[in-house]
Amino acid sequence: MKKDVLIVGGGITGLSLSWELSCLGINSILVEKAPFLGGHVSQFACKATETCQKCGACLLEDCLSKLAGAECSDILVNSTIDSFREASRKFNALILQRQSQVINEKCDDCGLCSKVCPVEGALLRPSLDSRLYISNNKCLKSLGIQCEACAQICPQGAIELAEKTKEIKIEASAVAVCTGFTPFDASRKPRLGYQRVPGVLTTLELDSLLRTGNFEPLLPADELKSVAFIQCVGSRDAKSGANYCSRICCGVSIRLARLLKNKYPQAESTIFYMDTQTFEREFDKTFGQAQNEMTFVRAMPAEIRSGEDGRPEVTYHGNDDTKQKVAFDLVILSIGIGPRDPDLPRSFPTLWNNRDGFIGSDDIDVSGGHPGIFVAGANQGPKSITDCVSQSILAASQIKKYLDRVKMGEQL
């Protein structure tokens, strides 16, 4: 298959880039490892209270519905790049696509399949309100073991298991790497009690819990009275290897705190922070309002333990120079954005590493360090959803420029 651009990664950047390219009449093929599209954004909740809070999570749906009608963008899910070769300004990639799937039209969400599946995570839902997918990296059948438990039990016949993988050869003139980020692993900071102290969550977990609109699995709604947000967990922290600001967390925490307050009016939020970062225009107004709705404490908590009543207890150095201990119903760690290994074949050209440890250039520029290879989105540095979309527009422009140059070269 001949294509102009091969896009690696079907998150918001890749999808939006695919759309922007199709607007310019450039053919692209998008390869996504997971069985579903949208990456991290597909797990985020809409943060709107009475009004939109401009988190941008709904841009994914927008992008997907636009792409459904686009002519020159192909998408392959469940696919990985097996080999990669460059020859005379063309990139040849061999894509392996696994074929097992849940047919959405037949599935009635009875949940029997998930009960019989022997592997955790092989049947997955990216978010609680989403349809069911088979993760081909984990499904035994895809790994060559004869297990058809789910297909046999499904009363609707909605599960199609296939052993074979489909091979797709692609020749592209340019490659865009949009593989996204790794959220900071909060258990690397043991004193913050993540996974040890009940009631300590990350912003990412809270976000996906809120997506379904109810909190019940965690805490009865009327018992949620106090929430603490701890900022800069895994950002602005040279010891954890993150000597950069993750840009998004101040906005994420303030939006989540507002959303909680909107859903559970008795829930009071306290935000522990170093510095607040401007994340919206007319930030003063936004922040001024936020200061009326929640408490801001300039302190980085020393530790979080289970208190006497079983609630998580935050210890910090208080304003009046004393050690403070306050218990909260929930403690949310506002985790940062970390670089992610793009997981490309070895023969893939070496990409630049930038000053903050991400791939791609230091600048807003999307060049990847090799002619024809571009890097865009959160794998180039911490970005909000809207930043990712903006960068995909820039990437589309630079890719177009490059393709035009290549065509000129061919004519010469």
């Binding site: 922007e20 607007c23 310019l24 985020f44 909740a45 809409c46 709107a48 009475e50 009004t51 939109c52 401009k54 988190c55 941008g56 999570a57 709904c58 841009l59 749906e61 927008d62 519905s65 009635d108 969400d109 309100d129 379904t212 609109g213 602005r236 040279a238 000597n243 950069y244 600001c245 840009r247 510095d275 607040t276 970062q277 401007t278 919206e280 225009r281 007319e282 930030f283 003063d284 922040f287 300039r298 304003n319 930038n354 000053r355 903050d356 230091d362 600048d363 807003i364 520029d365 540095g381 959803i385 809207t386 979309v389 903006s390 960068q391 527009i393 820039l394 422009s397 630079q398 177009k400």
Partner: protein
């Protein structure tokens, strides 16, 4: 697409055909980025004219077409803007295809907020940076005998990341001077951009003193020739004084104030003023509500270098996207004014969120600017506007606003869903929950008329749910807000007619909140309960 259809439309004279599309862009602002945009456009086959105000510096590039003056008025639509510019000699009327607002940010000094305006030891940050840049190597002699320099950042109004970037580069320069000690008085350092945190940390570890304030802010007191900063040291909580040689204060950034004529061109721009781009995630890159007008950097509220660089190319992409539309006239759904019914009340001209309706002896909809949101169709008191797709007029005048009534089944409950939010959310709902509801797609919730809702009830629909985008997320700025108001209005009418108004429900949704729609369905289903279809009382036939 289907070119023959389009041509026939234009022959019939349904739309105002433009004789010629101008590919000349007017770029407001002649700094580095304005020139970059002009260069980029020229290289890609467009023509560009740079506009600068009387007081602005003349752009340095000699090859560019530059006009200096004051914009009096802008009228028209994409491909065909008419700009009246008063120069020092004459009033010119020039035709442009596109308008790109790329003025540098307006810097407002904070010195007067500290009572330090006009003091000779107080500098604005950008002035100071300029001074350092221009002094070059001579600075190394430190002939001014600076020892202590105090910087105020993010005090009295929050500062942008780009300001902190400038502050750090100033600190980089001052590091070369041995005897200079810098003190930063701030509320928050702004490091939310690549590499800034590392640079901030570097300076912190290399002798720059940072004071971070929470409640109290430092004051500047004049004592004879000296300036004294009085402050409460935030960690020790003790009152302190510092007598610096100079004080440098950062500035507040805002868009250029010469955007007025453009803001006047877009009726919905008062929502976003002084910025040209609404603060909504629906508007990516440099697009504004109105086709053909693009906002770069400060004009859309983005002040950092990275955004500016990206915006320069985004302008190019936006023009590329607009051009095929301009040349092909692809048929699409657009509003159409029936001039026999029109009474020139100009409601449509005042209300169109996209500035797509102009008045040239009668209201005319520009088909290329129209986003088919339907706000005008519903608001027109004479019912003189309807949506048409190419030359295909929707078959019944009963349902002028609905096109492509989607999904399947004719249930007792009708869902009117905005295509930008509700419909996307509904596509995520398990079909078993939608078995006895009927889904109708709207281009915008703003296109739903109260009369149509009443007609639905008269036709035997038991319950209706209308879903529009959350406030601030509507691509037509106030489309969903209008819909909310109309639904409330219909509810009152229903109540007067003796029908339970709870059968009608408006919900604000987003594409990723299917739960809100499910909730609304259950709510309305519960209320409607086992009620049979009911009859509208004869005296209220739903046309009120």
């Amino acid at each position: 697409m289907n070119r023959r259809v389009t041509e026939s439309v234009f022959l019939k004279g349904n739309y105002r055909v433009r004789d010629q599309i101008s590919n000349r862009a007017l770029i407001l602002g002649g700094d580095e980025y304005g020139i970059q945009i002009a260069d980029l456009l020229k290289r890609n086959g467009f023509e560009a004219t740079i506009f600068v105000g009387f007081r602005d510096a003349h752009p340095s590039s000699p090859t560019l077409d530059v006009i200096k003056g004051k914009i009096e008025k802008i009228t028209g639509f994409i491909g065909d803007f008419n700009v009246a510019i008063r120069t020092s000699t004459d009033l010119h009327e020039i035709r442009f295809g596109f308008i790109i607002a790329a003025q540098p940010a307006h810097r407002r000094s904070k010195t007067s907020s500290f009572g330090a305006a006009g003091l000779n030891k107080v500098y604005n940050l950008s002035e100071f940076k300029q001074f350092l840049d221009s002094s070059g190597r001579s600075l190394l002699n430190n002939d001014r005998n600076w020892r202590h320099i105090a910087f105020f950042f993010d005090l009295k109004g929050s500062s942008e990341v780009s300001q902190f970037d400038i502050l750090l580069s100033v600190l980089d320069r001052l590091e070369m001077l041995d005897q200079v000690q810098s003190y930063i008085f701030t509320r928050n350092v702004k490091v939310a951009s690549g590499g800034l945190e590392a640079r901030y940390r570097y300076h912190r570890q290399h002798g720059v003193v940072f004071f971070k304030f929470d409640e109290t802010e430092p004051r500047i007191v004049q004592d004879g020739k000296n300036l004294i900063i009085e402050f409460v040291e935030p960690l020790l909580r003790e009152e302190m004084e510092l007598t610096p040689d100079i004080i440098v204060i950062d500035e507040i950034l805002s868009p250029a104030d010469s955007l007025e004529p453009i803001l006047n061109l877009i009726p919905s721009a008062h929502v976003s003023a002084p910025y040209l781009q609404p603060e909504s995630t629906r508007f990516n890159g440099v697009e504004t509500q109105k086709a053909g007008i693009y906002a770069v950097g400060p004009a859309r509220g983005a002040f950092d270098q990275e955004s500016l660089k990206a915006d320069v190319e985004a302008v190019m992409i936006s023009l590329f996207k607009a051009m095929p539309q301009l040349s092909d006239f692809t048929p699409k759904l657009v509003a159409h004014v029936d001039h026999d019914k029109c009474t020139f009340c100009l409601t449509c001209v005042r209300l169109c969120p996209h500035g797509a309706i102009g008045f040239h002896s009668r209201p005319e909809v520009d088909p290329l600017s129209c986003k088919a949101c339907g706000v005008c169709v519903v608001e027109c008191p004479m019912g003189a506007i309807e949506m048409r797709c190419g030359d295909v007029v929707p078959p019944t005048t009963e349902k002028p606003l609905l096109y492509g009534a989607g999904f399947k089944g004719h249930g007792r409950i009708k869902l009117f869903l905005c295509a930008r939010s509700g419909l996307q959310a509904a596509s995520r709902i398990n079909s078993s929950l939608l078995s006895d509801v009927e889904i109708c797609e709207l281009t915008c919730a703003g296109s739903l008329s109260p009369n149509f809702l009443l007609k639905c009830f008269r036709d035997g629909v038991a319950g209706i749910i209308v879903a529009g985008c959350f406030k601030g997320n509507c691509a037509s700025i106030y489309g969903s807000t209008l819909a909310d108001e109309r639904v409330a209005q219909v509810s009152r009418t229903l109540e007067q007619a003796g029908i339970d108004p709870k059968r009608l429900e408006f919900v604000y949704v987003a594409g990723n909140t299917p739960s809100l729609i499910v909730e609304a369905i259950f709510k309305v289903k519960g209320r409607v309960g086992d009620l049979n279809q009911f009859q509208f009382p004869d005296s209220h036939d739903g046309t009120t």
